[in-house]
């Protein structure tokens, strides 16, 4: 069996760089603040659509925002 990957992210840093709160980012991508919080903490793995929307809102490429970790 191959290695088990997890999804890591730089959401918190990227959000802080733009001076956005979780709520403001949530409003930009039309989800709840709770969703942003769980994505940031690695509890919830977002869909491709949400990942792209987050990257767009944070002015980053999706592969810069998310990464795989073992």
């Amino acid at each position: 069996m191959g290695p088990e990957y997890r999804l890591g992210n730089h959401l918190k840093e990227a959000r802080a760089r733009l001076g956005l709160t979780q709520g403001e980012l949530a409003d930009r991508v039309q989800v709840s603040r709770k969703t942003i919080n769980t994505v940031e903490n690695g509890v919830f793995v977002p869909s491709t659509l949400l990942a792209l929307k987050l990257a767009q809102a944070l002015e980053m490429k999706v592969e810069e925002l998310f990464y795989l970790t073992e």
Partner: protein
Amino acid sequence: MTDKDASNRRVARRTRTLTAGGLFLMVIVFGAYQVFERLDGGQGRLVDLVRLAGITLLALVLSIRSTTSLSFLRRDPMLDDELTRENRLRAGRIGFWAMMLATIACGALSMFVAVTLMEALITILFAGAFAATLRFVRLERRGADGA
């Protein structure tokens, strides 16, 4: 108003909506139950059917209203986003297994004591709804803390 305040207000609004909706429906179901019981003399199957239909309706309405603000027609995107949908799905899965276990338990129990169909159905429905609701609340609470 801070970010957390807005979130807390949304949670409070949802709780109020669910509580009010639930109480309102329970009153209706209880009223309907009383009326049919009087009509039927409390002996027939009509009462059981109404009771079961009422419980099912209550569960359905509460499920639907948990994704809306105050409307049956308009969904609130903040209450029905990706995370909530996934949580609902996962809670539903737990509810399903709870119903399966309740079914097996009722089957096993019926070998020793008489269990009527209605008793079994209500037990199974309640087990599923209770387990799913509990799981959903726990999953939803995960993201509620922290800013």
